[in-house]
Structure formats: structure tokens, C-alpha cells
Symmetry: C2
Subunit: 194 residues, 2 copies
Amino acid sequence: MRSAEFDRSHVLEQAMHTFMEHGYAKASMQKLTQATGLHPGSIYCAFGSKKGLFIEAVSYYHQQKLLAFEALFSDDQAVLSSLKQLLANTVQECVQNTCAKVCLLTRSLNEIEGQDPEIAQLLATNLQQIEHSLGEQIARAQRQGEAISDEAPLALARFITMGIYGMRTYAFTNADQNILEQMSAQLLRAIQKH
Amino acid sequence: MRSAEFDRSHVLEQAMHTFMEHGYAKASMQKLTQATGLHPGSIYCAFGSKKGLFIEAVSYYHQQKLLAFEALFSDDQAVLSSLKQLLANTVQECVQNTCAKVCLLTRSLNEIEGQDPEIAQLLATNLQQIEHSLGEQIARAQRQGEAISDEAPLALARFITMGIYGMRTYAFTNADQNILEQMSAQLLRAIQKH
DNA sequence: AGGACTCTTGAATGAACATTCAAGTATATC
DNA sequence: GATATACTTGAATGTTCATTCAAGAGTCCT
């Protein structure tokens, strides 16, 4: 026996950054071997293929986003203020000048469309899971009497989710923090009671 | 002298469809020659490169969208009803099962990020032009006393634009017509007077 | 210490890619 | 109809790509 010499999390972290920076197609194996420090053979041994590595990197990204979401929406805090923070964090990501400005899930979903149904399905499922969690939080806000619209919580969650997707694409045309903050405020207002 | 044997508009139309279906990177010259009926040499003679062909195909797409926009927002009609129709048309595109479901501009913008600043700039400029036209229409609606929020027309136009971008990405996760129509209604409500 | 097992290495492989160009072909002008 | 001037053709080019694999090296067990 002999255990693998590399730290799987660290490799996935680097691969994730490479895919975020270059997209799926343009993240060549050469870039991936440089970023991860692994040789081609090791990547194929550990992940099977470039696609396999991508799928694990996506899952790694998704896991991180889920954890951040759960940390943000802790039970002892108003849902609306957590939501406001979620949008503020998204804006902060969008105005970065690093690969952190992109959402690996939404960017890859746009790229992969019509190419690989298996990857598209994985991305969609991951995004829907976050949307679903958001729906639960909005339902909680309604139960707790926060000043939120009495529409179906899932409809409100979808609307916010769509808004975040839209902001991410919008930021590629104009990564102006003030504009993105104004959009966040408009989104929040749209789901509040008035 | 001898005039070109192919119809430039027809070639751009076919190239546009190929880029919409496969994205920029995966639309290989082989697929492009098959779709357009042109041989590689002819494409390079007429458009310089794959990138040159893409840029012209994007401009062709943009031109079409601008014409459709102007036809929709004719002067003798309430802006809000044209806007409603614009969103309904977008939903119809999103639920198609053909390449017509994607917006070449937003999809390419997501794909190209961090790869080719020249193309990114072109896409952003084209998208901003439509956003700007929408802003003018919203200003007109305000002047004509339609039941629309009295926020800055550009801010409202940005919000709708963002919403459309969001719906397009959302549709990749769940192309349900009812859901997309509900989102459209939520977007419209958010910019109306209340 | 020796042998068995497994992981690592990185050059080699073949496919797919964008691009070029010399030969071929059609048109226009005189 | 001859010549010049384009446009068309598609095989060839060189590059880049994902992937493989045989040789090498490390680790564990007896």
C-alpha cells in the first residue's frame, strides 16, 4: 500500500479556480496540471478525465456555497437582513477583478448548454438546491411576520435567484458597484410588503 | 471582376445559428463550413478568421434584435404593453427547444469572460445599446403618465435588463413557461407605481 | 532486507483544431 | 475569343488538445 501524495481538497480548490478563470473548454489539461501541480497521469488516475475533475470541482464549489449560505441564514437573525447580506456579498464578488467574480455554476451552465446534458443537469440541480434553501428561509420569514410579500415562498425565492443570475451577467457588461447595489435594493423591495 | 457567389446575409444567418447552438469555442470551423456551405478558404477570404466571422455574426444578431425592439416599441402604443410583450417574447424564446432559446450576446458574454477583451467589449456595448433604448422608452412612459415608478428611467431599464439576463440563465435550470411568465409579471410589478 | 503493491512521472499518441495556399474555375472586358 | 482578374476549392500544415502507458519510485508487510 501507498497513500496518495496530494491533498485532494487542495487540488480541487486549484482546479476550481482554473475552471472559474478560463471556463470549461479553455481550461486545458496543461493549465490544470500547472495549477494543481499534478501530472496528467495523476489527474486521470484520481478523477478519470477532465470532465470528472470538472464535476468534482463543481461539487466542491457548490459545497462551499452551501456552507456559506447556511452560515449566513442562522436561525437567530432576521431573514431579510441575511438576504440583504447575501446580495451584498454577491455584489462584492461581481466587482472583484479576480476569477472570484464569476459563479462557476451559472457561467458553466451558459457555456455547456447544448453540449453535455450530464453536466448541465448537475449544474441545474446544484443551483436548484440553493434556490430551494432560499425558499425555506423565505417561508420562515413569512411565519415570523417579517415585512415580506405573502406570495408563495418558492415564487419569491425564484425571483431573487433570477435576480442574482441577472446581476452576474449584468456585471460582465458593467461591473459598477453602485449600480449593482441599486439592483439589489430594487430586488429586495420587490419582495417586501408594501 | 467576378462577384462573390454566396449571399452574405444568408451565411451570417447560418453562422449565427451555429454559434448559438454550440457556443463560440465549440463551433468548429468544420461545423461552420457545413452550416454556411462555404469552404474554409472562402470564410477566411470574406471574414478574415473565425473570430472575424463571429464578430459579424454577433453584429447581425444584434441588428435583428434592435429591429425587433423598435418594431415592438412603436410610438402609438403604451410602453408598458410593449414591455409586457417584450418579456412574453423572451419567455417564448427561452422555452423553445432549438438554438433560438439562447441569447447569443449573453451566452457568449458568459463564455468569453477572461478570454478575449475585444469580443467582451463588443458584446457589452451591444447589450448596453438595447438597455439604453429601453431607458428611453421608460422615460417616455413616465412623461406620458403611465403607471410606472418615478425612479430614474435608466435605473428601471437596468432592472428589467438584469431581469431578462436572469430569466435566460434561469431557463437553463428550469425552462417552465409558467414559472418564467410569473417572473415576468413580478419584474413588471416591481417597476410599476403602487 | 526483500518482495509486492501502488502511486507518480512525463514523453508519446492520435485526434481535432484553425488556418493557409497553390491550383482550378468562373466572369468581365476588350 | 483571348486575356486578366477575381473568387472557389479542399488538401496540406502546424499547433494544441485530451488521453494513455510503460518505466520509475515510494511505501508497507513479512
